[in-house]
Symmetry: C2
Subunit: 269 residues, 2 copies
């Protein structure tokens, strides 16, 4: 049973267009293809970044991006969000001036499907975070979450070339976002958590993408104690996850998975 509160934007026909292609038998076929659009983000009067995005949930994307980059602490700092669809810009106005100018100096290009700029003090920012150690997850809950997510109609299943990130509780997936880069999809989750004031400390973060250091850091920053992916993982990601006692589960496919870190939350039955 699927009880998603937010489902993939699979019925939003503005997110993809049909283009003619030739298949291997020289037949012309019309293929639906995802549209990536630029969205330029301003924090007050400062241009921060231009993101390539599918364009749904621009406010969540913007807020989550700023939060994950350490430029925004909470929604109470936000005075106003102005989304100008025609100009492909979004302005987040804060009540007080921020100190992001200093942060902009330090940047690291991350690996994988990464947005590339994770500001250097992100790792130091997660130092103060302790994840909830009381929550547990059972074997069949992992299998069940993966199954529901993979069977849910999504842009991935319809047009491909896209990643999904899903915020779940132990029994069911709840909020399902997609974007061309999983870094955008995870930022939408962060924006949702901030905007709706969700308590994520008992929740699970599922992603279709690989578990790189960036994904692990963002998961910890959001204070989500369990991270599941159907893809692989890198060594640095595993090391950060272990250090921060994050339960990190990779290659969750069918009835199989690997627990790389934090197996104390895993209940084998």
């Amino acid at each position: 049973m699927s009880d998603f509160i937010i489902k993939p934007s699979v019925n939003n026909t503005k997110l993809f267009k049909y283009k003619k292609s030739l298949d291997e038998n020289n037949n012309i076929i019309n293929l639906p293809i995802i549209i990536e659009k630029p969205l330029t983000l301003y924090l007050n009067n400062q241009e921060i970044v231009t993101m390539m995005t599918i364009g749904d949930y621009p406010e969540y994307l913007a807020i989550g991006y700023l939060f994950n980059q350490g430029m925004l602490k909470s929604m109470s700092d936000v005075k106003k969000i102005e989304y100008h669809k025609d100009l492909q810009t979004l302005v987040v106005r804060t009540k007080l001036k921020t100190n992001f100018e200093q942060k902009l100096k330090k940047k690291v290009n991350t690996s994988g499907c990464a947005q590339g700029t994770v500001f250097g003090d992100l790792i130091s920012e997660i130092n103060g975070i302790s994840l909830n150690t009381k929550i547990t997850i059972k074997h069949n809950q992992i299998i069940n979450l993966s199954k529901i997510i993979n069977n849910e109609p999504s842009l991935y299943l319809k047009v491909g070339a896209i990643h999904g990130c899903v915020l779940c509780d132990t029994n069911q997936p709840l909020y399902y976002f997609e974007d061309v880069g999983r870094h955008n999809a995870v930022d939408k989750i962060a924006g949702l958590i901030l905007d709706k004031n969700i308590n994520p400390t008992n929740m699970i973060f599922y992603t279709t993408g690989r578990l790189t250091s960036e994904m692990v850091i963002k998961c910890i920053k959001m204070q989500i104690p369990i991270l599941i992916s159907r893809s692989g993982f890198t060594s640095w990601a595993v090391e950060i996850a272990k250090k921060k006692k994050l339960t990190m589960i990779g290659r969750a496919r069918g009835k199989r998975f690997n627990i790389l870190s934090g197996d104390f939350r895993f209940k084998y039955e």
Copy 2:
């Protein structure tokens, strides 16, 4: 038959390490996991970027990165390359001062497995490029290239969580690079082309990753007329490919594929 000139670094045991994990049956298993390491790139005395990379071919990665970002035109501009493995830094020294400071001002976060910072004038830089329209590719050549590449032992097959990029001629794949982000793997190809003075105008670029605008732009910038991927594609990527008459083939799996652009180079038999 595989006649790769450069094969994946699958026998380089320094690129991965074994970590204990629990599988779905609560068994402890030792998994090989790819190691991502920072490499900070300097152009003369200017720090450019810190890249997360598996660490093989750092010189190709550095040269190709600078080339793809429009900061370096040819190897004859390079005076010296200093790779300090212990310091995880690489310095490219040029004969003359470069104008990259201006370029650093304009940046766009790209989608997908992108390094995130493609400098704004990259698109205008490819305007002057015309790809070779004389080369053709046959149905069975596409199938054959895919098959050889997918059967070649690789870090992907061994440890996962990694992308491959392969420079091929129409009959065989030749240079096979991998990295945690496909943006690094494509930069290694660009570095190789520059360093070995390879003429890529009759060649084919194969990637395991998705075809986003960034991959298409880099392929055109390298003057490679045919781009093949086993993954999907975005709308903007298709539009750039069409405009520049790039032959773009996606979802090449088994005997199937889709030609999205430049089908005049395709010979159906």
